[in-house]
């Protein structure tokens, strides 16, 4: 206790300075008071002696040489991995998205603009609007009649109607499946590059 008060050194402080002294990070003044503390503290002096031994021992050991064929083995493995530049290019693809979005918007406008003009024309002319409503009603009526006819056909075991209905259903399913496959193929193609990169980060 007396020693600590004389040197104004606590044990953790002494240990901290031991570390800094070993790494040559201790200033001259701090070094002097640290050495003074060591002269007074037999316990820390013994620890310092042992730590210096460890330090010398670790400094004495050189760097091991890699096995002679290691570099060649690594390069064989590297040859199987896609070049990082290519992956970077593929990852840069999302930056093209704004251009894609602009093109999509342009196409949408080309389609949407005549539609808007047509609606505007209908709203401006009540007679044309009336005609349109009548036409829609007519289409709906025709649809209802077709369904009615198909149901009657089914009720009367009209095979021609059944085959027609089935072919409609099958063609609808085929269309949906084709679109699904196309969307999946595009999405897989985009993700393929990402999955090849090892997931773990260094």
């Amino acid at each position: 206790m007396t020693i600590m008060m004389n040197n104004k050194y606590s044990r953790p402080e002494a240990q901290r300075d031991m570390n800094l002294a070993l790494d040559n990070e201790l200033g001259e003044t701090a070094r002097a008071s640290f050495e003074e503390h060591l002269r007074d503290s037999a316990q820390d002096s013994a620890l310092w002696e042992r730590m210096q031994r460890v330090d010398h021992l670790l400094h004495s050991e050189g760097v091991l040489e890699a096995p002679p064929d290691m570099a060649a083995n690594i390069m064989t493995l590297v040859a199987k991995v896609p070049a990082p530049g290519l992956r970077r290019a593929s990852r840069e693809q999302p930056s093209r998205t704004p251009i894609e979005m602009l093109l999509t918007t342009a196409v949408m406008l080309i389609i949407a603009l005549p539609a808007l003009l047509f609606i505007h024309h209908l709203l401006a002319d009540p007679a044309a609007l009336n005609t349109l409503v009548q036409q829609i009603g007519s289409v709906l009526d025709s649809g209802a009649k077709a369904i009615d006819s198909a149901l009657r056909g089914i009720a009367n075991f009209n095979w021609a109607n059944i085959i027609l209905a089935l072919s409609l259903v099958v063609s609808g399913l085929l269309t949906v499946l084709t679109w699904g496959w196309m969307v999946r193929a595009v999405s897989l193609r985009r993700q393929q590059v990402v999955y090849r990169i090892p997931v773990e980060m260094a």
């Binding site: 790494d23 010398h56 021992l57 050991e61 040489e65 570099a71 390069m75 990082p84 530049g85 090892p198």
Partner: protein
Amino acid sequence: MLQETEQSDRLWVDKALHGDQAAFGELVRAHQNAVYNLAYRMLGERGEAEDAAQETFLRAYAHLDRYDAERPFRTWLLSIASNHCIDRLRKRRLTWLSLDEPLPPNAALNSHEVEPEDAVILNERGALIQDMLTELPPDYRAAVVLRYWYDLSYLEIAQTLDTTESAVKSRLFRARQALADKMTGTRGNAALHFAWEGMR
């Protein structure tokens, strides 16, 4: 000299990023000893060290576009290697725990016996140093290896191990103290004393 190495490293990295695998080969040849040595000091077994070194270079190649050219390439590589080795040591420990077998004394993560091949290559002192290192926890071991074999500063070690400078200082002190305590122990004390006297 060091700046020249860093400049040529950057040049090779740039070429490798443009698809030149031979340039990456230059990087491998330039740093293979450093990476292998770190892996061996961390893992204590030559075969596993070679695997870890290969994995380190593969990861570096796979993530080369994430390399920050402001940092030395070697430090970045050592960061990948040390983190990979720490992961390996933790997995090794988990495997042992899952087998429900008692841990060796001092939670050593590897056998203390030196492989016959290693015994030929390593001298007695080297084997003893390795023996002492294997008794340290992975994080402490990494700090010691980076400090003594690569002469990295506290800040560089902190960046490499993704921790703080104060944590590095603390790990280094505790590691040194643990090693110092081990030197006073009975096992290998005579040989260590001999090694110490031989250095004087």
